[in-house]
């Protein structure tokens, strides 16, 4: 991990959390679709990052969001779960010749289908964890499921838009 890792990812961390707290907090579709875009920070971390670091960073992210949302521990728990599952999903999705050293989570490099499976599965797990931890019970299960599905789609679409806008093809080839 060199210093450029640090600065770029600290900036990403701040950007995603600010985006989450100031903008996405007020943006709810049909009072059911929530966008937890801060998960993008965890999903976009380098592929070869160590598992322990990933877990700690995910905890820090979730915890920061929790403080603003007054949902002590819920987002942190979901993010840690997401970070734990991320290496497993990455293993499942390994391309035929393995990951290159400079491969990153980038829709242009890894391809659309790879990115879709990777992001959708992990976002779904994360959102399911958040909404079930929030209600604790299994009452209104259809309402919760609808919330999970709509929110997953919403977050995914925003994440793809971010990828297409800010993760250029050029940088990936470097």
């Amino acid at each position: 991990m060199n210093s450029s890792f640090g600065i770029r990812h600290i900036i990403q961390f701040i950007l995603f959390v600010v985006l989450q707290v100031f903008l996405m907090d007020n943006l709810v579709l049909f009072s059911m679709g929530f966008c937890f875009i801060y998960t993008a920070f965890i999903l976009f971390l380098p592929i070869n990052i160590s598992r322990v670091w990933l877990l700690i960073l995910a905890f820090a992210t979730g915890f920061t969001v929790d403080m603003f949302y007054d949902t002590m521990g819920i987002h942190a728990a979901a993010s840690v779960l997401l970070a734990f599952l991320r290496p497993l999903i990455l293993n499942l999705l390994t391309p035929r010749d393995g990951y290159d050293t400079n491969d990153s989570v980038n829709i242009h490099v890894m391809g659309k289908s790879w990115f879709t499976t990777y992001a959708l599965i992990l976002i779904l797990v994360h959102h399911a964890a958040v909404f079930f931890l929030e209600t604790i019970s299994f009452n209104d299960i259809w309402y919760t499921l609808a919330k999970i599905l709509l929110s997953t789609l919403f977050t995914f679409v925003v994440m793809v838009i971010l990828q297409l806008l800010f993760f250029s093809v050029k940088r990936a080839n470097r």
Binding site: V21, F22, D25, V28, S31, F34, R51, V52, L55, I56, F59, G62, F63, D66, M67, F68, Y69, D70, T71, M72, G73, I74, A76, A77, V80, L81, A83, F84, P87, F131, L133, E134, T135, D140, Y143
Partner: protein
């Protein structure tokens, strides 16, 4: 020993994962049950400052509606002052509304104190909604106090820092408010079950009562959080379900939670005395 360390090293990711999850679950459980001790929430000094800065920007866009609400409230208060003055002149105690306390009642002697505060963070669409207010212990706010706005009951203070406080909104799955139907004083409990933020449920109204659509629901004053007679809402629909011994009543809330800007924190100066007396008698506080 070496093997043990090797084992720990090999499964370090899993162990860290379990450790962090246990920590999270501990925080969730503690924050949900143990009131007042959580430090890492939006009443925190730094988080409060960020939220206050945000609301100082967004508040500009709502100034018109905030001003109208405040002006309307002023008008209502002036009207009440004038009415009281007239009544004082006429000295016609028999015309006083039943909502007013009888003169012999001690709760009239030391009334509730209101602390005005600005809402700097608010949500209405989550399962458990909270408000952050820009007043704290420095202004006399304590955990457990009620929060009202000019339209009606809003919630209850949960944690307090020096200059900020968080309140559990009425739109919280675990906040119950002791309420009564104003016309016949039948008391029940108002709670919110998620979904639409304009409607809540009124529970425990027995079947021999005949609640009608449009009846006013106010706070009962049976606990020390809210004064008696604070507006909660009006009855939207009354349903009698077959296997239940209580009505299912939907209440249209008087407060539009999405539009909250200024609220009042209610301090009951006799709270300690009343609570300790009730606990001594063995009555559990009903909230």
């Amino acid at each position: 020993m070496r093997n043990l360390f090797a084992f720990i090293y090999r499964f370090r990711a899993f162990l860290v994962f379990v450790l962090l999850e246990v920590l999270c679950v501990y925080m969730i459980v503690r924050y949900n049950t143990y009131q007042g001790a959580a430090f890492f929430n939006s009443a925190n000094k730094y988080i409060g400052q960020v939220l206050e800065y945000q609301s100082s920007v967004t508040d500009y866009f709502r100034l018109a509606s905030v001003n109208t609400t405040l002006a309307r409230e002023n008008a209502a208060l002036r009207e009440e002052v004038m009415r009281n003055r007239l009544e004082e002149q006429a000295d016609s105690t028999d015309r006083l509304d039943t909502l007013y306390y009888a003169p012999s009642d001690t709760s009239k002697l030391s009334p509730y104190v209101l602390h005005a505060g600005r809402v700097i963070n608010n949500s209405v669409r989550r399962t458990n909604n909270y408000l952050t207010l820009s007043i704290g212990t420095a202004d006399g706010v304590m955990p457990g106090m009620g929060v009202i706005s000019s339209h009606g009951a809003v919630g209850r203070i949960k944690t307090v820092s020096e200059h900020y406080s968080t309140a559990t909104s009425l739109l919280h799955s675990q906040l119950l408010i002791s309420a009564k139907i104003k016309s016949n004083s039948t008391f029940g409990t108002v709670k919110w079950n998620g979904g639409n933020y304009r409607t809540a449920l009124l529970d425990y109204i027995p079947l021999h009562i005949k609640p009608a659509k449009g009846d006013t629901i106010v706070t009962s004053g049976f606990n020390t959080v809210f004064p008696e007679g604070i507006m909660i809402g009006t009855i939207n629909s009354v349903e009698k379900e077959q296997d239940k011994s209580f009505y299912t009543i939907k209440v249209k809330l008087a407060v539009d939670f999405a539009q909250l800007s200024y609220v009042y924190v209610v301090e009951n100066t006799l709270k300690d005395e009343r609570d300790s007396l009730e606990i001594e008698t063995g009555i559990q506080p009903n909230e």
